[in-house]
Amino acid sequence: MTVVTLPELIKDLQLEVVYEGEQNKIFINTSDINRPGLQLANYFTFFAEGTAARLQVIGLIEIAFLNNLDAKTRKERLEKYCSYQLPCVILCRGIDPLPDIKEAALKHKRPLLKTDLVTTEFINIASNYLDSKLAPHMTQHGVLVDVYGLGVLLLGESGIGKSETALELVKRGHRLVSDDVVNIKKVARKRLIGEAPAAIRHFMEIRGVGIINVQAMYGVGATINAKGIDLIVELEPWEKGSYCERLGLDETFLNLLGVDIHKITIPVKPGRNLAIIIEAAARDFRLKKSGYNAAQDLNEKILASDNKE
């Protein structure tokens, strides 16, 4: 399971450490955030079951509320609040911690952090950051290209011509995302983003030539760092008699990280211009997405003319 460590969080969100706690033992595994208003009002139902493990963010309102309590109650509440397994408590708007908060945090070894940002702004930033860090991810052997704005993932065994096809696509004005290794991240319920590992970004291997730098050769317009994955094109060795789609009426999907992505399979034969076929597939996919299906249209036209006769 993916987690974010506290030192990572502190560094990436530029937090100021008021009290360290036991930083090395703390991991954050949810992108949910809790503003502990209800807990400070002494309502702890469901708190232990999940809410306590969230990032705890205290803003002006919570502080104002705490200041309104009498000293004894405030101390008790904070004690009780900090006795749960909190990953850390973050104070927004650069508020200096009340001595009571510091004391309670210290007693239970809960890290106490500070940011100058306004509470809602910080919550947005933290939540986006955690979402992206904690997103499910995988590495896929394949080539990712942006064709007419669609992210097309080329799959197929080594040596079938994925890189060569991508190169031809780049030459025709499309953009390379990654050759051979694609890091895929699930950023929303139905959306996958693919990118190249930083070390090999813009590089490609063409058999017989060697390693080439696509950006240096074809310019900055020939590459893009990350792209959503819309369509999968599987390249398959051409075999006589094997089934392939002739109409385009049926839809096939490949499931990656729990997301179904449209897939088409293209038989490969020496001399077949794959780049043009993939361009056609991408255009066709866009038409289908907008509601037009050529096979259906043809079928309807034929039926209509049959009826006339």
Binding site: T139, S158, V181, P197, A199, M204
Partner: protein, 87 residues
């Protein structure tokens, strides 16, 4: 399927020339060959993939080989790594 743990011992690790020798050798076999390094999986038949793996001297890797010629593939690749790529 064969799983073989092995440590890379040559000076430069699986970079540049050794990586290319390794990929050349792996590509000769029909079996699928994957290198596992920690939680990373690397396609042994792709030079870009092998280079991106950052496999330096002393790195422990696992070769996962599956297919009709897996025995021969394992023998050849292990010999290459153990022989330090002729360095």
């Amino acid at each position: 399927m064969i799983k073989k743990e092995i440590t890379v011992t040559n000076e430069t690790g699986l970079h540049a020339r050794p990586a290319s020798m390794f990929v050349q050798k792996a590509s000769k076999f029909k079996s699928s060959i994957v290198i596992e390094k920690g939680d990373k999986t690397i396609n042994a038949k792709s030079i870009i993939s092998v280079l991106s793996g950052g496999i330096g001297k002393g790195t422990q890797i696992t070769l996962v080989i599956e297919g009709e010629d897996e025995q021969e593939a394992e023998k050849a690749l292990v010999a290459l790594i153990e022989g330090n790529f002729g360095e």
